[in-house]
Symmetry: none
Subunit: 562 residues, 2 copies
């Protein structure tokens, strides 16, 4: 149902995101990504996907797998440093892949699906894109657009998403994991881990290099699909290389992926740094890059792992594959974890003797719980990160890649959307034809979609400010009424809170024949009434804004007076 409509996209998201359980949500996200990956990489293992369970299990599997895979893969390349040429190359791949993808998406008609995928990817990729955005100087890519598109995409894939989410939601996860595994195997071969490698290999230049390194990359690629095209670009596009700094993250491939963003960024950075210099093995690079080789290695591993995880989520399929290949999972994971910790030895954590202390999971610290807990924690973290990225992907304008910024941007964006909806509502109702915006000045602003509405006309802002600010308490009642089209109105009222004010205000509005359709009223120290949309009863005569205002002011005054 949902899926069909464009709304579908939304639906999915919703289901996945909010609607269902977290896990489910996570799944959904993943799915989306996976879908994307599938599209791009093609190789999604749909058969598996079919199972609802698949997803869930997938997810978990993936996560675990991640670690495992990552560790496995990582260890392999990270330690061994088998990569041929650039980390960068690898990094780029992913990043480019994403970007490229975006372009492709646009380009490709197939798009519909792609779109969806894209979104997913974008989510992951988003980060990259956002990254791009970050760099003012080098926005070469349409991150924003990408993002938006992604969002859209997500939205666009109502079906996909929906189906996934729904199916996935509940049973999905758990059951899924196995599925994932299977899937992974089943998958075309985007391949994560070893398989993934293959995928990359297919890409071309990257392939080789990637292989060892790519382990992670694949994940990022999640998206093997991306790689193909991407790979080329990467190599081709020196620009990225050229500008390591800002872009770096992106460059590397943060963009691509799903989760690399942060991780990738860092990883990429590392790689670049080390990589460029070294351009050799990962390990070498790592070592080179910094003082503590061991530390570096660990770091890399971890990052990779995470990346993989991300990938998993992002492109579950791919990851799935990897996992499958790895298959070591459980034990390996632990081991990996242990190894990591042990290896890393950061300080306190390293300790972690708990985890692995020695080699096994139970070492001694306490119960041996640590290992499990550790994994759980990792999963949790990853999940959270994925969500975060997802959120990022959904938010068109991303100021910074910071987690906090992401949240902040999301909040802002959310508000913006609400505002828009409001405006649209008013417009809709009021202006039949005027569609355009008569009413809503705001509409235009956001409409444009400009993700960056921000710039909206200052004037508007001013208005708002004036209105908004007034606030405070002691203050005089402040009422603003805007007529939208037709009989719709927007009301903003602010004054001190007084007992009975709420009721009297409601009465006043009612007396005016206004039906409050969308509003938010808050009482605390003060009283704030924001009616986004209210309509005058059809029957009644038109009430003018100033009338409304007068009535409300009176109401506020009466009470306010006290």
């Amino acid at each position: 149902m949902l899926s069909k409509v464009n709304g579908v996209v939304w639906m999915e998201e919703e289901g996945g995101v909010g609607g269902a359980e977290e896990d489910e949500d996570a799944v959904s996200w993943t799915r989306g990504q996976s879908a994307v990956g599938g599209e791009g990489g093609g190789g999604i293992v749909m058969g598996d996907g079919k199972d609802e369970l698949g997803l869930a299990s997938f997810k978990s599997m993936l996560e675990d797998d991640w670690y495992l895979a990552a560790s496995a893969g990582t260890s392999g390349h990270g330690d061994g440093g088998g990569h041929p040429s650039a980390h960068q190359g690898g990094g780029f791949e992913s990043l480019h892949g994403h970007h490229i993808r975006h372009h492709q998406q646009e380009i490709n008609p197939s798009a519909a699906e792609t779109m969806l995928l894209q979104p997913v990817d974008s989510s992951s990729s988003c980060s990259p894109s956002s990254v791009f955005n970050l760099d003012p100087s080098q926005p070469f890519f349409p991150q924003k657009s990408a993002l938006s598109s992604l969002l859209n995409v997500v939205c666009s894939n109502p079906f996909d998403a929906v189906s996934f989410d729904l199916s996935c939601d509940a049973s999905g996860f758990l059951a899924n994991s196995p599925m994932l595994m299977n899937r992974g195997g089943g998958a075309a071969g985007v391949g994560g881990g070893g398989s993934g490698m293959l995928g990359f290999g297919g890409l071309g230049p990257c392939g080789p290099m990637v292989t060892s390194d790519l382990m992670p990359v694949p994940d990022n690629g999640g998206g093997a699909s991306y790689n193909a095209t991407v790979g080329l670009e990467v190599f081709e596009s020196s620009p990225f290389l050229n500008r390591p700094k800002v872009i770096r993250p992106l460059e590397i491939f943060p963009p691509v992926g799903a989760q690399p963003t942060l991780f990738q960024k860092r990883a990429a950075a590392l790689r670049q740094n080390s990589g460029r210099n070294l351009g050799c093995l990962d390990s070498a690079g790592a070592a080179v890059s910094h003082g503590s080789a061991s530390a570096m290695e660990e770091h890399e591993k971890r990052k990779r792992v995470e990346e993989e995880d991300d990938m998993d989520e992002a492109s579950i399929d791919g990851s799935g594959l990897n996992y499958d290949s790895d298959d070591l999972t459980g034990d390996n994971l632990k081991m990996d974890g242990g190894a990591k910790t042990g290896g890393g030895g950061s300080g306190s954590n390293a300790n972690s003797a708990v985890t692995g202390g020695g080699g096994g999971d139970h070492k001694g610290k306490k119960k041996g719980l640590p290992a499990k807990n550790l994994m759980a924690e990792r999963r949790r973290r990853k999940k959270l990160n994925d969500r975060l990225y997802m959120l990022r992907s959904v938010v068109p304008k991303i100021t910074k890649m910071d987690r906090a910024s992401i949240l902040g941007d999301a909040i802002e964006y959310l508000k913006e959307l609400l505002q828009r909806i409001n405006d649209l509502h008013s417009e809709l109702e009021s202006t039949p034809s005027g569609s355009s915006l008569p009413g809503s000045a705001a509409a235009p602003s956001f409409h444009p979609l400009t993700p960056t509405p921000p710039t909206l006309p200052c004037r508007v802002k001013e208005e708002l400010l004036s209105s908004s600010l007034p606030s405070p308490n002691s203050q005089l009642p402040r009422v603003e009424v805007r007529e939208r089209e037709g009989r719709a109105v927007n009301i903003h009222m602010f004054c001190s809170r007084r007992p009975g004010l709420l009721l009297s205000t409601m009465r006043a509005l009612d007396s005016l024949g206004l039906d409050i359709q969308q509003a938010v009223i808050s009482c605390f120290n003060g009283f704030a009434l924001d009616v986004f949309r209210a309509e005058q009863c059809k029957e009644g005569p038109d009430v003018r804004a100033d009338e409304i205002k007068a009535v409300l002011l009176h109401s506020a005054a009466c009470h306010g007076s006290m």
Copy 2:
């Protein structure tokens, strides 16, 4: 400017959130809170605040202060266990402080600012509420509603929001911050830190106990204001104690507050647990509660700290005061940190030998960085949490209190909004004249971004809408009423929106002799009413919760029935 208007709050948020830099954002958030605090606590050090930098500094200051204060306070009580009675008391304090504050705010006419603050607080407080929501069983609080309300608020302030975004985006934030500070200073003087303490002391029972403990509280209190009432409640209201579980968070006063949510929940829980048993010193309590006294202590401290931090953010002013009072800050902080770490000694962390190992900040591990870093990390964490709560507050329907869930819900919600926008767009275009559509069609498409879906068939759209919205709508009216102490009640109501519902509900509440002091009401698809605090008129007979519920249900039903 901004500061003045109620919008301020929003402004801040928006600005803080999306618009500006993270720091700023953070600041903004903080401000909101701070503002609140200022209102409540008043004692913000405004002088400093004036500087734009001030904000930043404030922020940092506060945060640091938090820690310091907290640590100071904490260390004092935590380690020494100087606190008179309960940790709970302490914990409560903070929490309560928040709640109380709200109350006070409400009480305080100064409110206008408060209002703003409130929202902010609410955001933070929301978390608690959401927490409640999480519990299916115990939704007593209007978390959702709160959230929704928040959202609404945000939304509601179309102007504000817009303006904010716009204005805020760039300069706004920075500029604002100073304002806030100023305001805070201007505030009545609730009092933060030391001052705050006083405030608490004023409260009564809590006062004494709190004092030592309160240090942190003030922060929370940001809001000393709350404390007064809260403190009482806490002590008085055994119920909370009685129902530690689900309610806990709320009970404690999560609602109030600002950030307690997660923190508070836990903290509260801890306190309750320990507190109840012990009811003595914090340290004692801690020790009692669990095996590792030291660990407990640390925990408590930490929590408190965080709480404080939250407070800081929430009610920066307060914190500011505290800080001021403390003044120890820098060094103290370090010390505190060190102490904490040292004291706690949980395991790995404890170690923290880095931090304090011994007593001072620099111990030895590496550079002595740790301490600083530690603080930074704490701040960061806090900031992130605040944002998260903020986000939560904005998202109307929160399934779980999980971080991941919050993100997921937010994403979903976001998608929903996009979908809606899309639909609206299509409708707009199509409906009015089809002509516009084309172009606009684009709109929808791009809007939604979903390139494809673009225009989903209206019909579909309709379906979707119906479906999407559903959440609210379809539902049966849901009303939850909790009696607080005395004549205070908490009400959470959620049902489909119906014309006149708002008024009828208000009438119903009025008829019950309830004075709505703190509430958030949001209307969109559904109708959500969250009354954080309402008091029955002194005159009237006591109204029982079930009566209220019945009346509200009736009201909802009448309208709801449709």
